[in-house]
Every structure is written in structure tokens, then in C-alpha cells.
């Protein structure tokens, strides 16, 4: 489900014929994208000519541009830019619209981008976001934070790219939520990544002071010379304006110290750019939770606890480590990139399609190369990434053995990462049952459910019950299995046994902490069985159970709440 790039058809750009300065820091791709955005939207433009200063000089007066021509003169090589830019352009006959890039743009001369073009792009994005037929409408797309994105940049091209990156991030993390706050968080992550990309255009010796200025956030510079160098570098890449010893950070750089922006910046910016001073500034701004997340054992524990739940983003967790001070940061970044790349592939397809298999093989080979070049201490991390890649590839498949193998590899790699030289976090909880066992149990439970629904004969049902009992590995999984077994007895018409199992084997386990959903489902199940039994004496207990289940469901804000209300209405309990 890739919806990018955002189509920008049908814009009407309110720019009359004239001469417009393109920001000097634009890359050639940026210039191209700007041309693509403007050309179709300028009323009266019939032709678009993209050229460079050297080609323009060659073409000279022979080109004969008409007034319906849009001319883009980009700066491939600053050496080619004439001293008298205005004079050189004055001599070019005809073009109605000239968009010109030179070594410097006169102060305030790129303001047209924000004044005239950005509002049009914003309006367009508003329509895209509000379109009920949009494929992402179901993901809360209407909450796309376009004004917030517009506050991050004066540049409409960058605005579109920020929004596109936010969409990309949110669609990859849709399982974690698609409320307005989730979209905003994705935007801030996109902002951090964008900031890192802009800073990465600088050579390391310039990126270092530039990053210090960004992270200092207006604090007194410890080294005036480095501060000036940093400001100059930031101005070159369009992240700040500098005048007479003062700097004014652009909106993107000004947000660098905010939580998700900083984390994404740390994840994406090469370690060469980080000086101890920059690290110090970052630490000062890092919220406590993020600081903890930078700890390797905690990271691995997070991976371990997150995975059994289904889709999760190990890439982010790995990327969070990039900001740490371990010697393995490039390896981590590579691993995270690979995982990100892999995550966009379709999942849950059985059998594994040829294209997906080829992609998995390709990324595994890439990681093999990374492993060969990595220092020995970093190799466990590559192994962890490799294991995660395999897990990503099979996680949606109904192939228990394959998943179990992949999980066993992840466990082993995670243990290897965490073991030597890395202290365990103080007060760490005892290790949960191994992933393999947990997944095997849950997968078998799903099989049991499938068998039960398909089973027609009593013999088949007995086999399903036996399988379910085998799948239990601890108290909790036993309770889950018991729910399935109760369903088998109910299907046979033995409500008494079903009730006994639910009341005696399942519910007592679910009343413990952390099992709210299982508890409310179980209570509702017992209540339904009681109501079906049709005894007047059972109604009070059924009502109590349903009320309790409803309170839990409402607290969790899950759809089961509505189902429980319906049950109560149908049973006439809400009239009491």
C-alpha cells in the first residue's frame, strides 16, 4: 500500500510572469521537483525549459524563448554562475517566468515560496486528506497534520516531502494508532529525519559545528569560532540565517531538541557528525523515557516483549540505538535501514511469493556483507537484525515451525547482544517464557480454534481438545486453551461442562493483572451461557458479569462494549 509520491495535480499557482529565486541550497532533485510542482500550475505557461548557467550561456540568444515559456536555470556548478546574474538574465529574450538558482539569493527573495506557493499546496493537501474515498481514510487520514508541517518549513517542496514522510511513517505504524497525536508524532519523526538528511549534505568537519549550533538551541556558544563556522554551514544548507554574528534557526532546526525530532535525528545522522558537545546538548534535551530506551538491554527487552503481539517495529527500536555511544552505530543504522526496507513488503501471503522471497534473500545478503565488514563486537547486532529479517518475512504466515525457528534465532541473537560486557538493567523482571514456547502455544491455540469450527464429529472434537491441552505451557496459556475447550463443549451442547471450565479454569487466571480483555470476554461468555440456560436464578449473576465486562470494555474503548450492551438489551437486563 504505497501512496507516494503525493500527486499535485490541478494546482493553480498565483505567480505572475517574473523572476524568482530558487533557494541556493536546493539540490538538483529539489529544483526538478519544484519545477514539476510549478509548471502545470502556472496559468499561461506552455513550455518548460530546464537548463544550467553554462547551457544558457551556450544557447545564448538563439533559444528565442517565448512569453509562454517557463525557464529554470539551475546551478549545477557554482563556478558557472555569472557575476552579474541579473544582467545575464536581462539578456535572455522572452521567457515569461524565470526561476533562477545562484550561489546566493538576495535577502528575502525566496519568500515567494512561502507567500504564494505554500498556501496553494496546503489547500491541495487539505482536499486530499479530507477525501472520504482516499485509501487511507480509514487510518484517520483526515488528521494529517498539514498546518503543523507547514510550520516546519517555508518551502512547499519540503512541505510535501515532510507530509509524505509522515504518511509513510504512520502507515508503517498504523497498528500503534492513527489518532491525530499519532500523525503528529509521525510528522515530528519525519522532521528529524529530514533535518538529518539536510545536515548530511555537509562534510563532517562542517556538520559537527552545525549540529552543535542546532542542538545548543540559542545557548551561549562555548567556542565563538566554531559557532560562526556552524552558522555559516547551516546557512549554506538553508537551516538558518546568519547576520552580524547572530543566528536565526529555521523552523526545522529550531525543533531539533523536541523529543521525537531529536530521536529521529540521532537515529539518522552519521556518528561522524556527533561531537561530545553535541552529545551533551542532546542528553540535556532527551526526555527520561527516551534516555532509558537508549540502553541496549532495555532495547532488547522491548523487542522481546513487543514481538509476540504481532506487528511491531524492530527497526525503530534498533534505530533508537543509533543515538547511543556504542561503537556499533553504523551497523545498527544499516540493520535498521534493512528492516525498514523490508517492512514495506506485503506480509501474510502463503506461499511466499517469488518477489518477496527474492527481496528477503537480497536484504540478508546485504546484511552478510555488513557483518563481514563489522568489528567482531558488533556482529551479534547484525545477527539480531538478520534474525529479525527472517521473522519479518514469515511472521504473517501460518507456518508454526518456521516462525518458531525464526523466533529461536531472534532469542539467541538478542541474548548474544545483551550478554557480554553489557550490564543488565537494575531490577529487571524475571525472563518471560521463551518466545518459541509462547508462539507455539498461541499458534496451536489458533489451530484448535480452527479445528473446532471445522470439526463435525465428536472424535474430531476430542482431538482438538487434546491438542489444546498439549499447547498449554503455563498458567496463562492454559487459561486461554481452556476457553477454546469450553467452546468445544458448548458446541456439543454440554453447557454445564463449558461453564465449569470457564468458571474454574479460565476466569481465575484472567482476574490477575494485565488480562483485562481476556477477563471481560470470559465473563461475557459465562454470562451468555447462563442466560442461554434460561434459569431465572442465573439472571442476577449474568447481569453482574455483564456489567463488570462492560465496565472493562468501556475502559479499554474496544468494540466489545457495544456487543455486551446488545446482549444486555436482548436479555432485557438493561430495563432492570
Amino acid at each position: 500500500m504505497r501512496l507516494l509520491p503525493i500527486r499535485l495535480d490541478g494546482l493553480e499557482i498565483p505567480l505572475g510572469p517574473g523572476r524568482y529565486w530558487i533557494p541556493p541550497y536546493y539540490t538538483l532533485d529539489d529544483v526538478e521537483r519544484l519545477g514539476d510542482l510549478l509548471a502545470p500550475g502556472l496559468r499561461g505557461v506552455r513550455y518548460r525549459v530546464d537548463t544550467t548557467w553554462s547551457l544558457l550561456a551556450t544557447m545564448g540568444r538563439k533559444a528565442g524563448f517565448g512569453t509562454e515559456t517557463l525557464l529554470i536555470v539551475r546551478m549545477d556548478d557554482p563556478v558557472d554562475v555569472p557575476e552579474d546574474v541579473e544582467g545575464a538574465l536581462d539578456a535572455v529574450p522572452g521567457p515569461g517566468w524565470v526561476f533562477v538558482q545562484a550561489r546566493t539569493a538576495p535577502a528575502g527573495r525566496t519568500g515567494w515560496l512561502e507567500k504564494a506557493v505554500k498556501p496553494v499546496v496546503m489547500r491541495h493537501l487539505a482536499k486530499v486528506a479530507a477525501d472520504p474515498g482516499h485509501p487511507l481514510a480509514g487510518l484517520g487520514f483526515a488528521a494529517l497534520p498539514v498546518p503543523e508541517a507547514a510550520a516546519l518549513t517555508p518551502d512547499p517542496v519540503e512541505l510535501v516531502e515532510l507530509v509524505a514522510a509522515a504518511i509513510d511513517h504512520r502507515t508503517r505504524h498504523a497498528d500503534r494508532g492513527t489518532a491525530a497525536g499519532d500523525w503528529r508524532r509521525s510528522l515530528m519523526v519525519a522532521a528529524g529525519e529530514r533535518l538529518a538528511a539536510r545536515l548530511s549534505r555537509l562534510p563532517p568537519e562542517e556538520a559537527r559545528p552545525a549540529l552543535e549550533v542546532v542542538l545548543a538551541g540559542g545557548a551561549e556558544p562555548p567556542d565563538a569560532q566554531a559557532f560562526q563556522a556552524g552558522c555559516a554551514a547551516l546557512e549554506r544548507i538553508g537551516l538558518a540565517r546568519c547576520t552580524r554574528g547572530h543566528e536565526s534557526l529555521g523552523p526545522l532546526a529550531a525543533r531539533a531538541t523536541e523529543d521525537p525530532v531529536l530521536a529521529a535525528l540521532e537515529a539518522r545522522l552519521a556518528p561522524e557528525a556527533w561531537t561530545p558537545a553535541a552529545r551533551g546538548f542532546a542528553e540535556r534535551h532527551r526526555p527520561p523515557a527516551a534516555a532509558a530506551a537508549a540502553d541496549l538491554p532495555a532495547l532488547l527487552a522491548s523487542v522481546a516483549s513487543a514481538f509476540p503481539g504481532g506487528r511491531t517495529d524492530c527497526a525503530d527500536l534498533l534505530a533508537a540505538r543509533v543515538g547511543g555511544q556504542q561503537p556499533d552505530l553504523p551497523v545498527l543504522r544499516e540493520a535498521a535501514d534493512v528492516l525498514r526496507a523490508l517492512e514495506v513488503l506485503p506480509l501474510g501471503v502463503d506461499p511466499l511469493p517469488e518477489g518477496l522471497a527474492a527481496s528477503v534473500v537480497a536484504v540478508l545478503r546485504r546484511l552478510d556483507r555488513v557483518r563481514d565488514e563489522a568489528p567482531p563486537a558488533s556482529r551479534p547486532l547484525v545477527d539480531l537484525a538478520r534474525a529479525l529479517v527472517r521473522l519479518y518475512a514469515v511472521r504473517g504466515l501460518d507456518l508454526i515451525e518456521l516462525q518458531a525457528d525464526a523466533l529461536r534465532d531472534v532469542d539467541a541473537a538478542a541474548d548474544a547482544c545483551a550478554a557480554p560486557g553489557v550490564p543488565a538493567p537494575a531490577g529487571a523482571a524475571p525472563a518471560p517464557p521463551s518466545w518459541e514456547a509462547r508462539v507455539r502455544a498461541e499458534a496451536r491455540a489458533r489451530h484448535v480454534a480452527g479445528l473446532v469450527t471445522r470439526a463435525r464429529s465428536a472424535a474430531d472434537q476430542d482431538r482438538a481438545i487434546a491438542l489444546a491441552r498439549e499447547a498449554s505451557i503455563d498458567e496463562l496459556s492454559h487459561a486461554v486453551m481452556a476457553s477454546y475447550i469450553a467452546a468445544v463443549f458448548e458446541a456439543r451442547g454440554d453447557r454445564v461442562e463449558a461453564l465449569r471450565i470457564l468458571r474454574g479454569e479460565a476466569l481465575p487466571v484472567f482476574v490477575g493483572p494485565g488480562n483485562t480483555r481476556e477477563r471481560l470476554v470470559c465473563r461475557a461468555g459465562i454470562a451468555v451461557l447462563l442466560l442461554k440456560r434460561g434459569r431465572r436464578a442465573d439472571r442476577r449473576e449474568a447481569d453482574d458479569l455483564l456489567r463488570s465486562a462492560l465496565a472493562d470494555a468501556e475502559a479499554l474503548r474496544i468494540p466489545e462494549a457495544e456487543q455486551i450492551r446488545r446482549i444486555r438489551t436482548q436479555a432485557g437486563l438493561d430495563e432492570a
Binding site: 528575502g108 512561502e114 496546503m122 482536499k127 507547514a150
Partner: protein, 434 residues
């Protein structure tokens, strides 16, 4: 969140014009007066000024619509937006191009426009693109306009091209190849030649109405003496076009009009529209929208919010821009306007942080107050880079462009100062710097 399909705060279509009937009548009469002149060597200059966004362009557009309706057979209406032109020369080139387009349009409508006249326009446009060139090159570049020699009448144009630049359309190729030396056409010469061209056009029986719009935006650079001097030179050169036998319409912001000479006596300052007229203008702009959009705007909270915005706005542009933002991205609810407008400021002036804008606004006690530069710098906490950003982004505007000692906020940021009590009669106009 409302999604109007057509609404554009900057639209200046003639049918969106409201109120100002008196100003419209005055302006129309001034142009009609020129069109009725018996002596085709005479022209007329008209100057329309007012605050940024007060409605100058829409007034001109409305009158030009009528002029085109009534006089399209014999009148060239040329409009040149000086915004985003870098120099007087670029404007002059555009003027020549505009004349060329109008003449060709007349010709396309089966008017007997002489070829020589069209060639003359082409030649002037070509000359306007020359600064200093080899004489030989100038002849080569102008050789395709040789039919200009057939231009009948006073022929001052050809004579001046020869006298000013030593360029003759009657030289043979052999003569041209043997030419040496250079020729330069400075702005004054180009303006002179354009005046000659207009003279020739008038002599052929056509009128010319030329609108130089947004003169103040040619170069909105006024912080140093050198900046202002450059702008002054360029503008004065353009104002020399008033010597031509045309109706020259100049529109510019009020703080800029100190440069307009006394002889341009036809001038009018547009006053602010009252809240009721702003709402009427909005309704007119929404007329094309889908019924659902109009219905939503007509509901009670939205109407109150719109009225509240109209009360705060001092200019039509500020009002329309606020409405556009709030309607599309926020909720038209009077109780939620303040944070909505803050977010408007953040997304519209992204290079200036909201705290800076707030500090700046706190310097003013009312939208009509002007403060010295030092207080603006204070609001920037002495940061020159931030200070420059305010000017570059036109968040701060001068009281007088030519003596920039006092400043106010862009009207689109007035909501940061304090709510303006709007009245049916409209707001008072700011003081005239001239």
C-alpha cells in the same frame, strides 16, 4: 473543517468587488477622460494607494473590466505586476511585451494593425534587453524588425533609435559587418524609446492604458540608504513613463507613495472596508461554492466567527486569508479563534517563531501604532538575524518606505496585538506619510 473548492483570498476578479463605488466612479472617469482627449500627444497619470491588502488591485481590475468591455476596439490595456520583477529594466521589457500582446490580439480580431507598428514594438523589446553590446551585434539583433521603417507618421521613434544608439534599420548587411564600437541603452533611453513608441501608437489611433501594479514590491528593500537609493532610481525611471501619451495607472502601498511626484495629482487613498462590507465580500467569494459549504458558513457559530474575524481585520486580504486558514484547518467557532490564528501565524510565517511574533506584537498597543526600529530590535532580543527575517518576510512594514524610522505589523498579524473593535462605518485609515 470546510473545503471550499474555489475560494482564493487573493482573487481579484471584477465580480468580487464590493463597496467603494465612489472611488470606482472617480477612477473610471479619470481613464475615460484620457480616452476622450482630443490631443493624442497628451496622457494622464493616476495613483491608487492604500494599506497592504486593502483592495487596490481589485478596484483596478473592476474598472479595467469596464474599459475592456467598452473600448476593446481601440484601446490597449497593459497590466504589469512589478512584484517579482527585479529591476526597472525587467518591468520595461514586460511593458513592451504587454504592448506587443495587445497589438497582436487586436490584429487577431481583424483590426488593421500596421506591421510596422508591431515591428517597432518588437524592436523596442529587443533594445530593452540590451545594456551594452557591440554595435554590429545590436544591428544583427534588430535586423529582423526592418519592417519598422515603414512606420508612418511623426517617425520620432526611428530617429531616436538612430540618435540614441547609432542603430539604423536601413544599413546593408555589408555595412553592418564593417561596424565597430559599442552601443549602450540605459534605462532612461529605453523609457524614452517607449514613450516614442506610445506616441506612434497614439498616432495610429489607439489608446494605451498601462497599469504598473505593486510598484512597492519591485524591490522591497529599504533597510539601508544604498538599498533605498537603488529602488528610488528604478522607480523614478518607471515614473518617467508619465510623459508618454498614455493613461498610466500606478498602484502601490501607502507607505511607498512618497516617491510619486506632485504632478501626479490624480491620486486616491483607499480606506479600510468596514466589517459588514468584508462579510459581504466574503459571501460573494463563497457564492460559487457547493451548497453544503455555504450552508455550513451560514450556521450560527460560523457566522459569529466570521463576524469576529471581520471585526479584527483591517484589510480585506487579512480577513480573507484568516478565513481561508480557519475554515480549512480549524473550526469556525468564535471561542476557538485565538489558538487557530496562532497556528495560522506559525504556518504562514514559519521562519519566525511565535514567541518572537508575540514579543513583537506586545510592543504595540493598537494596530495603528508605529514604533521605532529600536523597539522592533528589542522584541528580537537584539538578534539581528531575527530582525532581518521580520523585514524579509514583511512581517514588519515601514510607515514610510523612504524614511523608515517607524514600523508596524503586517495587517495579517494584527490579531496578535489586540482585537480591533470594528464598526459598520469602517476603520479609520492610517495616516498618510506623504
Amino acid at each position: 473543517m470546510l473545503l471550499p473548492d474555489y475560494f482564493d483570498p487573493n482573487a481579484v476578479a471584477h465580480d468580487l468587488f464590493v463597496d467603494r463605488e465612489e472611488e470606482r466612479r472617480w477612477f473610471l472617469q479619470a481613464i475615460e477622460g484620457y480616452l476622450r482627449l482630443k490631443d493624442d500627444r497628451l496622457g494622464r497619470a493616476v495613483c491608487i494607494t492604500g494599506e497592504k491588502g486593502v483592495g487596490k488591485s481589485i478596484l483596478v481590475g473592476s474598472v479595467f473590466h469596464d474599459i475592456r468591455e467598452r473600448h476593446s476596439g481601440d484601446t490597449l490595456v497593459v497590466e504589469v505586476d512589478c512584484r517579482n520583477r527585479r529591476s526597472a529594466r525587467e518591468v520595461l521589457v514586460r511593458v513592451a511585451q504587454g504592448v506587443d500582446e495587445e497589438l497582436r490580439s487586436l490584429k487577431a480580431s481583424l483590426q488593421a494593425v500596421p506591421e510596422a507598428l508591431i515591428a517597432a514594438v518588437g524592436a523596442i523589446e529587443e533594445i530593452a534587453r540590451m545594456t551594452e553590446v557591440e554595435l554590429k551585434t545590436a544591428h544583427e539583433r534588430l535586423s529582423r524588425f526592418k519592417s519598422v521603417v515603414g512606420l508612418k507618421g511623426r517617425r520620432r521613434l526611428l530617429g531616436n533609435i538612430e540618435a540614441e544608439g547609432g542603430v539604423s534599420f536601413e544599413r546593408s548587411d555589408t555595412e553592418i559587418r564593417s561596424l565597430t564600437g559599442k552601443v549602450s541603452f540605459d534605462d532612461a533611453r529605453v523609457v524614452g524609446l517607449l514613450c516614442d513608441l506610445f506616441d506612434a501608437i497614439r498616432e495610429q489611433g489607439y489608446n494605451v492604458v498601462l497599469h504598473l501594479d505593486n510598484l512597492d514590491e519591485l524591490r522591497h528593500e529599504f533597510l539601508t540608504d544604498a538599498d533605498r537609493e537603488t529602488v528610488r532610481r528604478d522607480i523614478q525611471r518607471l515614473l518617467d513613463l508619465k510623459q508618454a501619451p498614455i493613461a498610466l495607472v500606478l498602484s502601490m502601498r501607502l507607505y511607498f507613495c512618497g516617491i510619486v511626484p506632485r504632478e501626479v495629482s490624480n491620486r486616491r487613498i483607499l480606506k479600510r472596508l468596514g466589517a459588514a462590507h468584508l462579510v459581504e465580500a466574503l459571501e460573494r467569494r463563497l457564492a460559487r461554492e457547493a451548497p453544503a459549504v455555504r450552508a455550513e458558513v451560514g450556521e450560527e457559530p460560523a457566522r459569529l466567527a466570521i463576524r469576529s474575524l471581520a471585526d479584527r481585520a483591517t484589510t480585506a486580504l487579512a480577513f480573507m486569508t484568516w478565513f481561508d486558514y480557519v475554515a480549512r484547518w480549524e473550526v469556525l467557532d468564535p471561542a476557538r479563534l485565538a489558538p487557530a490564528l496562532d497556528r495560522f501565524a506559525e504556518s504562514t510565517y514559519s521562519v519566525i517563531s511565535l514567541p518572537v511574533l508575540r514579543r513583537l506584537a506586545s510592543v504595540f498597543t493598537s494596530p495603528d501604532e508605529w514604533v521605532p526600529k529600536e523597539r522592533v530590535l528589542e522584541a528580537c532580543q537584539g538578534n539581528n538575524a531575527v530582525f532581518e527575517q521580520l523585514f524579509n518576510r514583511q512581517a514588519v512594514l515601514p510607515r514610510d518606505f523612504w524614511h523608515p524610522t517607524e514600523f508596524t505589523l503586517d495587517p495579517e498579524l494584527f490579531f496578535l496585538i489586540q482585537p480591533v473593535q470594528g464598526t459598520e462605518a469602517g476603520h479609520a485609515a492610517p495616516p498618510d506619510p506623504s
